[in-house]
Amino acid sequence: MIQKNAPPKRSDEPVWWALFSAGGVCFAVVVPGAILALALLPALGVITADSLSYPRISELLYQSLWGLAGLAFVGSVICLPLFHAAHRIHHGLHDLQLGGGLLSKVLCYGSAAVISLLALYLIS
């Protein structure tokens, strides 16, 4: 027998919303900072190409502090923004009535997870 007025099922959306929110902050703050430091300032000659040399950056991000800085950089510039974008695409598909169900959820968040793991693998 179906229980009358049974409480509705709890949504798993808080997980994706939390990743979306964190990714949004990274998209707004860290990604522009990275573009400024890695693309605009060297092009404008404000910082020299030497200061972005591979050995120096590798030491700074991936060797000192047990590589935590590199983990934070990849997490905030690649992984979290990926989940932010995946969330927008998933809900955008729902708005366009093209999906928004389990398949688009698996595809969107799944591809964000796979690309995130690939990025983290490449720095390990």
């Binding site: 509705p8 949504s11 808080p14 729902h94 009535q97």
Partner: protein
């Protein structure tokens, strides 16, 4: 000054869908859309629409004016230099002309237990500081006109979505220091048709005639629901 007003007419016993009918009304700087509808009703007594207070308190005269949800009494013809088209509130079932079936809206409101829940049995008044009042006061200004439901694309796609006014009302009582019913309200809000049905379009807050800001209430509700999710992981 004479003005043309197009009204979406619908008689469920004769029409397969609403048809626009043009009327001429006298209009000056103080003529509201509701005044215009009352003039039209003098010309054609069969026109059906709801109204009561004429002062944006009762919330019964909600209609679409040129496709935007508005209160007829709070919308003035002077702001529409060209023709005005009035139709029934979007996303609701039309019963006749400008009258919609508000039953689904009322069912969503009652689903969130929109009343003080407090087991304390004493005759003492429940005192509240101005700061405690300020937490929920804005959300208590809702007049249940339903404009936010006509504005909400998610309610349009999924009529099971609790919607802006109901979630705002839940948040209004959850934030009330006299209330103890948050645990009873959260299961509805935690579901996919609760706060998580909202994608923060924000049009609900734009159309709200009482500046209640339902979008803010829903997003506060999302934070509360996310907190509830984390706490539930630590409960057996």
């Amino acid at each position: 000054m004479s003005k043309t007003i197009n009204i979406a007419r619908y008689n469920p016993e004769q029409d397969s869908q609403p048809q626009l009918q043009a009327f001429q009304v006298d209009s000056d700087h103080s003529t509201s859309v509701l005044d215009a509808l009352l003039q039209v009703q003098q010309q054609d007594p069969s026109l059906g629409f709801r109204w009561s207070c004429r002062m944006a308190i009762c919330g019964s005269c909600g209609v679409m004016v040129n496709g935007i949800p508005k209160l007829g009494c709070k919308t003035f013809l002077r702001d529409y230099p060209d023709e005005v088209t009035v139709s029934a509130l979007a996303h609701f079932v039309v019963e006749k002309d400008l009258i919609v079936d508000m039953q689904p809206f009322l069912a969503h409101l009652s689903a969130v237990k929109p009343y003080l829940i407090n087991d304390q049995q004493n005759a003492e008044p429940h005192r509240q500081t101005p700061a405690q009042l300020a937490k929920y006061q804005q959300f208590a200004n809702c007049i249940n006109c339903g404009l936010c439901y006509s504005a909400c694309p998610q309610f349009g796609l999924n009529p099971e979505f609790l919607g802006p006014a109901a979630i705002t009302l839940a948040q209004r009582y959850n934030l009330d220091s006299r209330d103890q019913g948050k645990a009873a309200r959260m299961p509805e809000l935690n579901s996919k048709n609760g706060v998580w049905g909202c994608t923060f379009v924000g049009f609900c807050s734009e159309v709200c005639p009482k500046k209640v800001d339902p979008a803010a209430a829903i997003n506060q509700g999302k934070v509360a629901s996310a907190g509830d999710f984390i706490i539930s992981m630590f409960k057996p």
